[in-house]
């Protein structure tokens, strides 16, 4: 017996999805097509003179060793942000889940950073870590670490990774907490009765059951670190020292917005687009296999 509902009319289903398709075309496909088109043009800043240059913009990019270096920086940055961001927020969520008294206050405080704009996050951390004025830098100096994110590339990277994680931790925390609370208590109790300790219970039951959430957050965090972090970098390191904290999207921002070189910026966006599509495909194809949707 056919159970699926079917439209009798030929045009009604199309009419019903039309608004959705229109929005997608207008706000997603059209800008993407624009980026593709711009990436094969060479323009002056005001767009008065425009030449079609085939793939020159891409060729220039890949002949630039600094651009290739930027891939490495981006990979390091996004892996650090995703790994430590997820780990920390999972730990926080697990503890928040066990808190009995004042749980609401604790949770509310953890959600606050998400409401702070990336630029403010950057400035905040910049002050904390400022080599002369910062509290954290001061403490570090006391224990013998001469903190200087202006000239030490590793310090600069730590600074932007911390700021980026801090900003995203609330988001991850919320999802993990929701995930934890949807795990049936009976499962955990059964394991406890069988003699499994908290750590064992976490790794054998809770973590596998959280895998859809973790997977979702992994994708979100990678995309976040790829695209949403340029404001943090603009407010803190400006990609320096040298180019040691220049991630791909920051270069798009500086070349296109500040340098007025739309052609190159568009070409870089196309490269970024390809990377993110590839990453997402890989994540869904390989990582998702290990995910258990109940």
């Amino acid at each position: 017996m056919e159970k699926r509902a079917r439209f009798k009319s030929a045009w009604l289903p199309y009419a019903l999805v039309a608004p959705q398709i229109l929005v997608t075309l207008l706000f997603f496909f059209w800008p993407a097509a624009q980026a593709l088109y711009q990436s094969v043009l060479l323009q002056d800043a005001f767009g008065a003179a425009s030449q079609f240059v085939w793939f020159d913009n891409f060729r220039d990019l890949f002949n630039d060793s600094n651009y290739l270096e930027s891939f490495k920086t981006t990979a390091v940055f996004s892996l650090l942000v995703a790994f430590f961001g997820l780990t920390l927020s999972l730990i926080l969520a697990v503890f928040a889940d066990r808190v009995v008294k004042g749980a609401a206050i604790y949770k509310t405080f953890l959600i606050w950073p998400y409401a702070v704009s990336p630029v403010v996050v950057g400035v905040l951390w910049l002050f904390l870590m400022n080599p002369t004025l910062g509290i954290i830098a001061h403490v570090l100096r006391d224990i013998g670490i001469e903190w200087n994110n202006l000239l030490n590339g590793r310090h600069a990277m730590i600074l932007i990774v911390m700021a980026a994680i801090w900003k995203q931790i609330s988001y991850n925390f919320l999802f993990f907490l929701a995930g934890l609370q949807s795990i049936p208590k009976s499962l955990i109790e059964a394991a406890a009765i069988d003699g499994a300790g908290p750590v064992r219970r976490f790794f054998s039951i809770v973590f596998p059951l959280l895998s859809p959430t973790t997977f979702f957050l992994l994708v979100i965090n990678i995309v976040y670190s790829f695209f949403d972090t340029f404001a943090i970098i603009e407010a803190t390191t400006h990609g320096g020292p040298g180019k040691e904290t220049e991630i791909l999207v920051y270069k798009v921002f500086t070349d296109g917005f500040k340098g007025g070189d739309l052609g190159s910026a568009a070409a870089q966006s196309v490269v970024l687009m390809v990377i993110v599509i590839a990453l997402t495909v890989v994540q869904f194809k390989y990582v998702e296999r290990k995910v258990q949707y109940s």
Partner: protein, 442 residues
């Protein structure tokens, strides 16, 4: 009858109100023009005061001053607005954006042309040469209207000098003297002897003009788009090498790419600073010690040094595609701004350079420099006859080139590259941008 009278009475305020509305309408019939600028805080107040003063001085034209963020943000906003067909009438653009504006086909109208069409007198020769030269086209026309100009100067903490046994009334004049002063300060326990803001502007751009050597070929880009960078000459390399050594010895502390180091000076942490002359007001406001301004240090063994330093700051551009009477308004406003009294006041209140000789003379006569001698140092560095190498710098993608210089210099200060390697790399990377700019603006 009584009733009617009452009605009439109640109508009275209405009449008055409608009269007011009519008056306001006629006031609004004034031609309005928009002015996008990047002047924040106290400077922003001064800009609004200028617009106000102009608006009150006549009733035909009205200037609306709008703050549009930092220089690069305002320029990006104007570019986007231009592409969408609603650019402002007047745009304030920083000096490194000059070439981008000048070579943009049809986006701007040269100031000389605006003034000529409006029938206003405009004499570029009244401007300080180093200022006028920066904004003059190869044909000799002034393309933008000089507004706020600054230059690179040297600041030092007199109290720290005295404490270290240095003569607080005798600032170091040469880089050699800076070095020996730094050594004494360091020996006296000062953590930060010397720091610098705007490293590219101070140590390469102004450095080149000050020593009368070229920063880029084709007279620093004035003679064509095919100019290429030249700041990896032995003299430049030697200077950056010296700085690298001072960084290693702890005499020079790197504190950031833009004006962040100024805070290190006025907080009393660093004893010496090279930065923009426009930092003067801020330092005066914040410093709790005696300080003085002196001219930028130089190397005595270089012939022709010191020449003049290079300006920074911004100029005003008239954007294209506006109505005739709007250009008239622009011309009137520029004429208003060129009055010596207006300029002298702007100079005294902001610390920017007096950009005309008349404004300088007026300020001198008023006795302003006796009270605050600091700003005069910058003026004296500028009011000399410029040479082809010291007139200014006009390069495409200059903002990005500065970023490249910042990046490469940082690798020198942290010891990853030698001065020669870094400057060669900066020249190579900058030249690639120049080639690209040349292609895009053919």
């Amino acid at each position: 009858m009584q009733f009617q009278l009452k009605r009439l009475k109640s109508l009275k305020p209405l009449c008055a109100a409608s009269l007011l509305v009519m008056m306001a309408a006629s006031a609004q019939a004034a031609t309005e023009i928009s002015w996008w600028h990047s002047m924040q805080g106290a400077l922003g107040d001064r800009v609004n005061a200028l617009a106000d003063q102009f608006n009150k001085s006549q009733s035909e034209y009205k200037v609306n001053a709008v703050f549009k963020g930092s220089y690069d943000e305002a320029m990006a906003a104007a570019i986007a607005a231009y592409r969408a067909g609603n650019a402002p009438h007047i745009l304030q653009v920083f000096e490194v954006g000059t070439a981008t504006m000048m070579y943009s086909k049809g986006a701007i109208v040269p100031v000389t042309e605006v003034m000529k069409t409006a029938g206003e007198k405009f004499d570029p020769s009244v401007y300080v040469p180093a200022v006028a030269g920066y904004y003059t086209s190869p044909k000799g026309d002034m393309v933008s209207f000089p507004f706020n100009s600054s230059t690179t100067v040297f600041y030092y903490n007199k109290d720290m000098f005295a404490k270290a046994g240095l003569n607080p009334d005798k600032p170091p004049v040469t880089w050699q003297e800076v070095l020996s002063a730094a050594a004494k300060l360091k020996a006296n326990g000062e953590k930060c002897a010397y720091t610098t803001g705007w490293q590219s502007w101070v140590h390469l751009e102004s450095f080149s003009a000050w020593h009368n050597v070229e920063f880029a070929s084709k007279n620093n880009g004035f003679d064509g788009l095919d100019a290429r960078l030249k700041f990896n000459s032995p003299l430049h390399v030697k200077h950056i090498e010296n700085m690298a050594n001072w960084a290693k010895q702890g005499y020079f502390t790197y504190a950031g790419r833009k004006n962040e180091p100024e805070a290190k000076f006025y907080s009393g942490e660093c004893a010496m600073l090279t930065s923009s002359s426009s930092a003067y007001a801020n330092i005066t406001k914040n410093a709790k010690f005696k300080f003085a301004v002196s001219s930028l240090p130089y190397y005595t063994e270089v012939q022709g040094a010191p020449q003049n330093t290079i300006i920074g700051g911004a100029s005003l551009w008239a954007m294209s595609g506006k109505k005739t009477d709007e250009y008239k308004a622009v011309a009137k406003f520029f004429k208003f701004l060129s009055q010596p009294e207006v300029q002298a006041k702007w100079h005294q209140e902001t610390g920017y350079l007096p950009i005309t000789n008349a404004a300088y003379e007026l300020t001198k006569k008023s006795g302003f420099y006796e009270k605050s001698p600091g700003p005069q140092v910058a003026v004296q560095q500028m009011i000399v006859k410029t040479t082809a190498k010291s007139r200014g710098i006009r390069l495409g993608s200059f903002a990005q080139i500065r970023t490249i210089v910042d990046e490469e210099l940082e690798t020198v200060w942290n010891g990853k590259k030698t001065a020669k390697e870094a400057l060669d790399a900066a020249v190579k990377r900058g030249d690639e941008l120049l080639v690209r700019f040349e292609k895009a603006n053919k």
